[in-house]
Amino acid sequence: MSSYLFVILGAVLVNNVVLVRILGLCPFMGVSKKLDAAMGMGAATTFVLTLGCGTSYLIDHYVLIPAGVEYLRTLAFIVIIAAIVQVTELVIQKTSPVMYQVLGIYLPLITTNCAVLGVPLLNVSLRHDLVESLLFGFGSSVGFSLALVLFAGIRERLDGADVPTPFKGTAIAMITGGLMSLAFMGFAGLDKYR
C-alpha cells in the first residue's frame, strides 16, 4: 500500500513533472497569467492525463506488446491522447461553457503537451502496472496543477512589481520558473525518509 503512496508523492513533489522533469512548459508559461485559467487547465490536464495513462497502459499491454509492435508506442500514444483531448473538449463544451471559455485555446494545447505524452511513456519505462500507472498519471497531473497554480499566483502579483524593463514579461516569468524549479528540487531530500 505504501508503495502507491510513494508513487503519488513522488510524482507530485519529488519528481514534479514540470519543475523537476521540465515537461509541459508551454502551458506552464502560457496558461499561468490568470489564476482561474490555471486552475481550469490543471483540472482538465488531471482528467486527460489520468485517463490517458490508463488507456495507454491498456493499449500497450493488450495491443502493442502482443502484436510485437512496441516501437509504435509514441505514435499510438499520441493518437490516443489526441482523441481523449478531443472528447474531453467536446464534453466540456457541452456541459460547462464557462469552463470551456476559461480554458479557451489551451485545451487543444493539451494534445501536444509533452507532459501528457511523457507520463505514459515514463509509465512504460518505469514498468508500472495498471494501478500504478493510473496513480502515477494522477500524481503527475496534480503536480502539474500545483506548479501551474503556484506559478499563476506568483505571476498575478508579478504584474505589480517593479521589474527592470529588460526582464519584463516572459523573461521574469522564466526566472521565476527557474527559482521554483530549484525549490522543488529540494523535495528530493524526502528520499531520505523512504
Binding site: V63, G68, V69, L72, V79, A83, Q86, Q93, K94, G104
Partner: protein, 183 residues
C-alpha cells in the same frame, strides 16, 4: 510491417468512431467565442474594421478571417484584451483602419440642417431623431461616436465633439511613482 499497419489502422478506426460519436452526441449550437469577443468590442458599430458592425467583426475574428487590431474605438486596451482572450500576441492598431480618438458625440448644427433624414438612416443605433423637413438632433446619451452620420450629410452640418469630463465621469489619476525625489 503489416501488423504495425493493421494495429495503427485499428486504433485509428476505433478512436475515429469514438470521436465521431462524441461530436454528434455533444454537439453545441453557436460559438461562445463570438459572444466573448463581442463583449470586448466597444459596440460603436462604426464599421471602421471593415465589417458591418461589431458582431460581424467578432465572428470574423473568431473564425480567423480578421485580425484583432482593426478596431480603432476599442483602442490599445481593446486589442490587449482580445490578445489575452485569444492567446495571441499584442499588435498595435492597424493604421489603415483608423486611429484611436478621444470619445466624441455627433452634434448637428441646427442652423444648417435641412431635415433630409439621411443621417437618421445612417445611424446604426437610432440615436438621431427627426422627421423629413424637420430639424434633426442627436440623442447624446445614445450616440456611440461612430461618425457614420457625417459622410451622408449633404450640407456638412454634423460635427464630432469630444465628450467633456464631468464630476460623474472624472477619474482619479494613477498615483505617480516617484523613483527618486526631484532634486
Amino acid at each position: 510491417m503489416l501488423t504495425a499497419l493493421l494495429v495503427m489502422t485499428a486504433v485509428a478506426l476505433v478512436l475515429g468512431a469514438l470521436l465521431g460519436y462524441a461530436s454528434l452526441k455533444f454537439k453545441v449550437e453557436g460559438d461562445p467565442l463570438v459572444e466573448k469577443i463581442d463583449a470586448i468590442l466597444p459596440q460603436t458599430q462604426c464599421g471602421q474594421c471593415g465589417f458591418p458592425g461589431c458582431r460581424p467583426y467578432a465572428t470574423a475574428i473568431a473564425s480567423g478571417e480578421a485580425d484583432i487590431n482593426q478596431c480603432p474605438p476599442g483602442g490599445e486596451e481593446g486589442i490587449r484584451k482580445l490578445a489575452d482572450l485569444l492567446g495571441r500576441e499584442f499588435k498595435s492598431l492597424s493604421e489603415e483602419h483608423g486611429v484611436e480618438k478621444p470619445k466624441s458625440v455627433a452634434v448637428i448644427d441646427e442652423n444648417t440642417c435641412i431635415g433630409c433624414t439621411l443621417c437618421i438612416q445612417a445611424c446604426p443605433v437610432d440615436a438621431i431623431v427627426g422627421a423629413a423637413k424637420q430639424l434633426h438632433t442627436v440623442v447624446a446619451g445614445e450616440c456611440t461616436g461612430c461618425e457614420l452620420c457625417i459622410a451622408p450629410c449633404p450640407v456638412d452640418c454634423i460635427a464630432m465633439e469630444p465628450i467633456v469630463d464631468t464630476l460623474d465621469t472624472w477619474k482619479w489619476r494613477y498615483p505617480v511613482i516617484q523613483i527618486k525625489q526631484a532634486a
